[in-house]
């Protein structure tokens, strides 16, 4: 339909409809990716969790067998415990360090290169980071233990004792991810108006006081989002364990993702591995939901 005369009202309505189409077009690539790489594998994973499937011959439906086995499997419950322990140590330390680094980035320096340096560990791949720390922390030959021994202390079996292994892996991953987390928090800090701090200074508040009463409350929505992202990511710890300990000693670092991987690709029990993945999915959904509600991530105290 060709228009010869401008009709302000309809053009406006038409323009809005055109926007929707354009928006859909922009969303399309991401949507296709989301459907093909997220929704479809998730649905297929849920289907496979009700089957006996060895990857090479067609799956056979076996009802709830995998779930019944999961509830009775002590190794599964142990991995769940180990994973939660890891997430707790990892997230607490990482968030604390990241917050301190972010505040220092904002309050102490304006130099871009100095802010950039914080991000460098994140540029190292997980596998490489794990390998490097594996060598540094080796009981006999690692430089870390050589230094400890030179200082007159007993060598520490960082990755080969059940007491040390999870804190060590958690710290390796803190080292790698803290810069990235700090950067996210730093972006959040930038949204806090400088006038707030000026007002604080006028009233004679100290830096720690301003941190407690201005920074933390106003940072809450960003912090909540960062926590949701990092907790979900933390639950999926895999590479560091696969490289550094392969679940050992005994089962003390057999985190859920590694157990799932081992069952699927080491023991060819894809159905059971899928069932455990579904369990992990449910855990993450529940945790994310609780986090979202508790931290009121969708509202801000700024307005």
């Amino acid at each position: 339909m060709a228009l010869t005369a401008p009709l302000p009202k309809t053009t406006k309505a038409r323009g809005r409809r055109d926007d929707t189409r354009l928006a859909l077009l922009f969303i399309l690539p991401a949507l296709i990716g989301f459907l093909v790489f997220m929704v479809w594998p998730t649905l297929r994973g849920i289907y496979l969790s009700f089957t006996k499937f060895n990857l090479l011959t067609p799956p056979e439906f076996n009802g709830l067998d995998n779930y019944i086995r999961m509830v009775q499997d002590p190794v599964f419950w142990n991995s769940m415990k180990v994973t939660v322990y890891y997430v707790f140590v990892n997230i607490v330390l990482q968030t604390m360090f990241a917050l301190v680094i972010a505040v220092m980035m904002q309050r102490l320096t304006k130099r871009t290169w100095l802010r950039g340096i914080v991000l460098t560990p994140y540029l190292v791949s997980n596998v490489v980071a794990a390998m490097v720390f594996l060598w540094i922390l080796d009981y006999q030959l690692g430089i870390g233990n050589t230094v400890i021994a030179a200082l007159g202390f007993d060598r520490i079996p960082f990755l080969s004792s059940d007491a040390w292994v999870i804190p060590t892996i958690a710290l390796i991953n803190v080292w790698r991810h803290v810069g990235y987390t700090a950067l996210l928090i730093f972006a959040g800090l930038q949204t806090i108006p400088e006038t707030m701090y000026e007002a604080g200074r006028m009233d004679g508040a100290s830096e720690p006081r301003m941190f407690r009463s201005i920074t933390v409350p106003l940072l809450r929505p960003v912090l909540a989002l960062v926590l949701i992202i990092t907790v979900v990511g933390s639950f999926q710890v895999f590479d560091t364990v696969a490289i550094a300990t392969r679940g050992g000693p005994v089962d003390s670092s057999r985190v859920l993702q590694f157990y799932i991987y081992d069952v699927a690709f080491g023991r060819f029990q894809f159905g059971y591995a899928s069932a455990m993945s579904v369990a992990l999915l449910l855990v993450l959904v529940v945790i994310t939901f609780i986090q979202y509600r508790v931290t009121r991530a969708d509202s801000s105290d700024l307005n």
Binding site: Y139, Q140, T245, G248, Q257, Y261, F265, A273, L281
Partner: protein, 457 residues
């Protein structure tokens, strides 16, 4: 850090892992046969075989890829799923039964070139291990290995021990016999006190008398405790191959393991932490770094040991002794062998079988024998390897071969459900080695393993 939810993530990670381990290895086309092996030491020998094979078979050639033991198997699995597996690969007794169950191995009897393989051409017992429960042959024997003691001559000299005494060691689970006496004497703490002298500090040991190869849960104690347990008359399963009842609850094994891991508590052998936990260093590294004076290892390690150098680059003087005589009055060594298998994914199975046949044939076996890395499966080629070690390395390998001639070997336990058994057994054996679980806990493990076969049948 944000890896995507669920299975996609796992599959992705595996893909990344496989990719990280190196690319290549797509099933061969147009007469190029893809062949995989894991031992880099054997690659030159088989490259020579491949060159000969190409000469004899115009239009055919072999492309060899080598991957380290751990990535080898995950890459192979990924290859089976993604249809990028090689035509022919080096197979292990601990793994092949699972592959037969997954229907990814082609029976060699069904392929013309390998249909006429004869069991009698190989060292006794080797070929039979590669016949599945259906009676079909899934691997052509290529080599064999046994276990012996490697020792550092310098450590023996410093301790005033005559190497000849090592040829006639005895052990028993009560006091360890002359074997434990030697191990104690070779152990030195950080003040220079030997393990059999008063004032020995077992918590600060500089040199352990015996090296540790880990808990042995991944391979039936092959280079750890199998030689001791078998010389006490123990066998892993009710029958071999294809056993379905396990013997981990028997006193013969549990007493042996109490004694063996007891060496760790006494300071004579390195602990789980000391050797690096899940990423353990082997006997070769322990002897090289001077943290162990001797240790058990396999014949496939001969060339590695004879190349060891100290910190100044000087070659170490390494000697060999047979495994000690046990309560049964005999020595014992696990007898294991590798073979080549053809995958069902191969688009040129007849060509692949030709290559398998060539590798298990006289010509290639002689080439491998003369390269002195492993003992080839054919007796005549084994002699060549023995001669090579005598001439080029001045090393008498009798401690390995005498187990075969004296018939004191026992075969690697072959069974189905091997991956599940490994997953159950490895952590439990680690726990016993670490000392966090008693040896008697293996009785529970034994019941678990037996249950696996109840479900399967």
């Amino acid at each position: 850090m944000f890896r995507k939810l669920k299975m996609g993530a796992t599959a992705l990670t595996v893909g990344l892992l496989a990719a990280a381990c190196g690319s290549g290895g797509t099933g061969g086309k147009n007469g190029v046969i893809e062949y995989w092996l894991w031992d880099s030491g054997q690659q030159p020998g088989y490259q020579k075989c491949a060159d000969e094979f190409a000469k004899e078979n115009p239009g055919l050639s072999v492309h060899i890829s080598q991957y380290g033991w751990d990535s080898y198997w995950s890459k192979l699995t990924a290859g089976f799923i993604a249809d990028t597996a090689p035509d022919v690969f080096t197979d292990h007794l601990a793994k092949y039964a699972q592959f037969v169950d997954l229907k990814v191995l082609r029976p060699l009897d069904d392929l013309a070139p390998t249909a006429d393989l004869q069991d009698g051409d190989y060292q006794a017992g080797l070929a039979a291990l590669w016949k599945g429960q259906d009676g079909k042959r899934y691997g052509a024997p290529k080599d064999w290995d046994t276990i012996a003691i490697f020792y550092d001559n310098a450590a023996l000299k410093a301790a005033g021990v005559d190497p000849a005494t090592l040829q006639d060691l005895r052990w028993n689970p009560q006091d360890g016999g002359s074997f434990e006496k030697l191990v104690a004497h070779l152990t030195i703490d950080d003040k220079g006190v030997r393990g059999d002298e008063p004032g020995f500090d077992r918590d600060h040991v500089k040199v352990h008398g015996l090296s540790s190869e880990g808990s042995g849960g991944a391979g039936w104690g092959q280079t750890q405790w199998s030689a001791f347990a078998a010389s006490a008359g123990w066998q892993a399963t009710d029958k071999n191959p294809w056993g379905t009842r396990f013997n981990l609850d028997q006193p013969a094994l549990q007493d042996t393991l109490s004694w063996y891991y007891g060496l760790v508590r006494k300071g004579y052998m390195a602990s789980y932490s000391e050797i690096g936990g899940a990423n353990a260093i082997g006997t070769d590294k322990q002897i090289q770094s001077g943290t162990a004076a001797m240790g058990l290892s396999g014949s496939w390690m001969i060339s590695t040991f004879t190349k060891l150098t100290d910190a100044t680059g000087k070659k170490l003087d390494i000697g060999l002794a047979p495994t000690p005589i046990g309560p049964s009055g005999k020595r014992a060594s696990m007898f294991n062998g590798l073979a080549d298998s053809v995958t069902t994914l191969s688009k040129q199975p007849e060509n692949a079988a030709k290559w398998v046949k060539f590798m298990s044939g006289e010509k290639c076996q002689d080439i491998i024998g003369e390269s002195g890395v492993v003992f080839p499966a054919r007796p005549a080629a084994t002699e060549l390897a023995v001669a090579f070690n005598k001439k080029d390395r001045n090393l008498d390998v009798t401690p390995f071969t005498q187990q075969v001639t004296d018939k004191t070997t026992f075969l690697f336990p072959v069974m189905t459900n091997a991956a599940d058994i490994l997953a159950l057994m490895n952590p439990r054996m680690d726990a016993v080695y670490i000392g966090s679980a008693p040896v008697s806990s293996l009785t529970g493990l034994n019941n678990q393993l037996n249950d696996l076969f109840k479900v399967a049948q």
